[in-house]
Symmetry: C2
Subunit: 183 residues, 2 copies
């Protein structure tokens, strides 16, 4: 299946947590001085509802680490299961050698508030600025503030991928509603 | 359905990440000076493979925050979808008033290396010690080291719950394997 550029609509920042709290594999898009990159990432968590803060681990061995640290901006994009091949490909090769967007078949689309690109084929895109680097030396842990959020308005509950390790991905199943006061 | 105490077998610490990386809702069990508690938690991430380090946010408004900060120990338990009611109940009430294990119908089971209890009905239990509290003041973010891990050996890929917000939970769907060098 050929992946398609998705339509997009702004999402209120207070609703961002609902995209990341289920724990999907995401793509981290970065750009700095004419170089860009996209990598797969699973080690991230919400830290605050609003303004939305996200903490994520980017290994110092990754090319994205340099682009993120230098530009202090990125995009977190949320792929659905139909992009499984592209996600695995993004996780399997380094962007140091050349244009990984082209190599894995994903489309960079200009963002509005950051220099890093949106990933056109993804169900959601979060424009982020680095807010705190104090945990980078010890844990490669960046604190990001989400400054703009985009979703494909046709997708209410994205069929996300969730990495079980060693290339095995759980695909999001059905959603159930329970009486809950959890925000 | 009456929930049952699960059999359990030790899991190698190097494999812990595969339980948490998919992003399930977990239960955080704590104990200190004769008081214990269990809460639902979704804001957590792996920080290191081995020894496994986990970062998690526990709000200062939660009774568990006090028990965790004082005891410096906890158990992260991973419930499957059959425990959805108990998970929602654990997320909806405070443990300050009384024994929340009993109130929500979960069974504390003695752990081996920490004072906090395992949750008997869960598919996996991770005994943890607090390893770093430097991010607690700013983000309520605790760094935990997993010191012992237990799984129900009958469960290869737990049918976990993933919180989409406001009491809506995605239930883990099928697993797909992709060619991947992601660890």
């Amino acid at each position: 299946m050929v992946a398609m550029i998705r339509p997009r609509r702004k999402l209120a920042l207070a609703r961002v947590y609902g995209l990341l709290e289920p724990g999907p594999v995401v793509l981290l898009a970065t750009a700095h001085r004419g170089r860009s990159n996209v990598m797969a990432m699973s080690w991230l968590t919400m830290l605050e509802f609003e303004p939305p803060l996200v903490g994520c681990v980017v290994s110092g061995r990754n090319f994205s680490f340099e682009l993120l640290r230098r530009s202090r901006e990125c995009v977190i994009a949320i792929p659905e299961a139909r992009l499984a091949r592209q996600v695995a490909a993004a996780g399997n090769r380094s962007g140091r050698a050349g244009d990984k967007f082209a190599a894995v078949g994903l489309t960079p689309v200009p963002a509005t508030k950051v220099g890093a690109p949106l990933v056109g084929e993804c169900a959601a895109n979060l424009e982020c600025r680095v807010a705190d680097t104090r945990m980078v030396n010890r844990y490669n842990f960046f604190v990001l503030e989400v400054v703009a959020a985009w979703i494909d308005p046709r997708v209410r509950e994205p069929r996300t991928l969730h990495h079980r390790g060693r290339g095995r991905f759980m695909v999001a199943g059905p959603t159930v509603a329970l009486p809950s006061r959890m925000r």
